[in-house]
């Protein structure tokens, strides 16, 4: 089976039923998607599959054979932050940082689909992402700021 991860083609050894999260973390060493609950409940493992946010812990490799997978490593890095990363950083939307990669990739997908989301759309898009540190206020503010900045 094959995956294009952050622009790089990979031929994979993992079996078809292996969760995409494990393929990324254990076979490819891409560790930004986190094993928070491994049961689809927390959103920390979220990656983009052909541009759509997906819970990688519940996605078997066989279901995404040949797909393009984007993790936060494919969004931007320390030398070239994406506006969403910049907003999360400067507005303190990341506290412990564990849920942050999932939050950010979901936000990037939201802003691509809906460049000027209202508060309800932001809350709906991030409703499957659990953060236990911030209380969500700063996260929503960061998404609004990133949307404003991309105007």
């Amino acid at each position: 089976m094959k995956l294009n991860v952050n622009g790089v083609e990979h031929a994979l050894e993992s079996g078809a039923l292996t969760p995409l999260l494990h393929v990324l973390r254990e076979e490819l060493g891409v560790t930004s998607p986190k094993a928070g609950c491994q049961s689809g409940g927390c959103g920390a493992c979220t990656v983009l599959v052909d541009g759509e946010p997906r819970r990688s812990c519940l996605t078997p490799l066989g279901a995404v054979d040949g797909a393009e997978v984007t993790t936060i490593e494919g969004i931007g890095d320390a030398h070239d932050l994406h506006p969403v990363q910049e907003a999360f950083h400067t507005l303190h939307a990341a506290q412990c940082g564990f849920c942050t990669p999932g939050m950010i990739v979901a936000t990037v997908a939201l802003l691509k689909r809906l460049p000027q989301p209202g508060r309800r759309e932001i809350e709906r898009a991030l409703s499957g992402h659990i953060c236990r540190c911030t209380g969500y206020v700063k996260i929503v503010e960061a998404v609004e700021a990133a949307a404003g900045g991309s105007r």
Partner: protein, 461 residues
């Protein structure tokens, strides 16, 4: 003080927003084994058989540890605060809560480790379980702990050893003078801290005999001490890589994964990782304790609290952990933000066959704060008074003393309650709007309360 009010760049923020922060689970360690835990399926049982040989025959399994592999299996985490050791790292002859760890398997893969756990030969003889603190004092209650059903080691020269006790003022006089008695029973329940990062630990045995331990503990030196204690090694054998914590909220004070992976790393000579599932997090790690709190307040018809009788049963679960410390803190806060001159309090740490409870965000205090604020509103409701005014009338002033006789020099109860009223859009009457935290005087101080509500000269000191 340059940071106060300023927006300071978060030191680890760039790593967080780029996904490059290395949490414990993110370390890539070649040749690493996975560990999985055999846990009690019963609330309370004797272990009648434990045979790990079948697990060792499972392909991929490298080692199994039981209590026999732990140099010091029963180690107190708060012995420094006078709480004796009671809890084994791995169960010995009995299990006292559903989820209590019995054995841990290390294998080449998670799947092999799980197969190893399933292969362990274990049998139990179930015992009656105590699951409700209210039944703990009954003569025929199941026995949850070898010390009895409540913690007996508070000690101290002036208090009985088996509970926290406060006697302040003249409680009988307060109840005789009362216009009404307002009672309440409050039962704030257990809460799982639920950090999004589960408990995870990896240990690498180094060629120089040291152990490198990647830990998500909230207290690095505390956990180092616990590992050294269980292993019987000096601290200089341990190198901790810690400080990157994916949320903790008290739950990651628990230091169980660290000694376990260290023992498996020593036994196999290989790196070992143990990562809890979310199910283990919920069912098998410490929660905030459930509490049972009974209050009877002697009040006047105009809203003074003359005296409080209070009984607290703190559900510690199966072992003491931090619960005695939690009840001690609790006992200091039983009057909340208010000055109550006469107090009669008994607080017990009760053992049950539930998951042991421990730290979570102000544990011991949060339960009583919620209880007392609910009780204050109940008093106002029973007397037909304004809940803000009942609070302000009784609010701590400069010079008042807490239940444990600490004199308050800088209490903020009055301005905080006034600010809360303002934020809620509640119009206070002039007396209460202009009230200050200065010692009581005039109409707001009944004569008979003089001398009971703290030292009126404290303002000048």
């Amino acid at each position: 003080m340059r940071a106060v009010g300023a927006r300071v760049e978060k030191v680890d923020g760039i790593g967080h927003v780029t996904g490059q922060t290395t949490f414990v689970d993110d370390w890539r360690i070649p040749g690493m084994l996975w560990a999985k835990v055999l846990r009690s399926p019963h609330d309370h049982a004797a272990i009648t058989k434990l045979d790990v040989a079948p697990a060792l025959a499972v392909p991929g399994v490298r080692a199994v540890i039981t209590h026999e592999d732990v140099p010091k299996n029963v180690l107190g985490h708060l012995e420094g605060l006078g709480v004796p050791a009671d809890e084994p790292l791995l169960a010995e002859s009995d299990v006292r809560w559903k989820g209590q760890p019995i054995a841990v398997v290390a294998a080449d893969s998670e799947e092999a480790a799980l197969a190893g756990v399933a292969a362990i030969g274990v049998s139990f003889e179930e015992r009656p379980a105590l699951l409700d603190v209210r039944l703990a004092f009954e003569a025929d209650a199941p026995k949850a702990h070898h010390w009895g059903n409540w913690f007996p080691h508070f000690g101290g020269p002036d208090t009985p050893p088996d509970h926290r006790k406060i006697r302040k003022g003249d409680i009988d006089a307060a109840f005789e003078q009362a216009d009404a008695i307002v009672q309440g029973v409050y039962r704030p329940n257990a809460i799982e801290q639920m950090p999004v990062e589960p408990q995870v630990c990896a240990c690498v045995p180094e060629s120089n005999g040291r152990l490198t331990i990647h830990s998500c503990t909230q207290g690095v030196y505390f956990t180092m001490g616990i590992v050294a204690g269980h292993l019987g090694v000096p601290l200089n054998r341990l190198k901790f890589i810690a400080g990157t914590v994916g949320g903790g909220f008290g739950g990651k004070v628990e230091s169980w994964t660290e000694p376990v992976v260290a023992l498996l790393a020593l036994k196999t000579g290989k790196p070992v990782k143990l990562r809890f599932t979310r199910e283990e997090e919920f069912l098998c790690t410490s929660t905030r304790a459930p509490w049972h709190i009974e209050i009877a307040d002697a009040v006047t018809s105009d809203g003074w609290i003359l005296g409080r009788k209070m009984l607290t049963l703190h559900d510690a679960g199966a072992y003491a952990r931090f619960s005695p410390y939690g009840v001690t803190k609790h006992s200091f806060h039983i009057a909340g933000s208010y000055a109550i001159p006469n107090i009669h309090f008994d607080g017990y740490v009760v053992f049950t066959n539930r998951t042991p409870t421990s730290a979570m965000r102000g544990f011991g205090v949060t339960s009583v704060s919620w209880t007392i604020e609910t009780q204050m509103s109940r008093i106002a409701s029973v007397l037909g008074l304004d809940p803000y005014e009942v609070r302000l009338r009784n609010a701590s002033r400069i010079g008042d003393t807490t239940p444990n006789w600490v004199t308050l020099h800088d209490p903020s109860s009055v301005p905080v309650i006034q600010a809360a009223a303002e934020a809620a859009g509640v119009e206070l009457t002039a007396d209460y709007r202009t009230m200050t935290r200065d010692p009581r005087s005039g109409d707001l101080l009944p004569e008979w309360l003089e001398g009971q509500l703290g030292d009126l000269d404290a303002k000048e000191s």
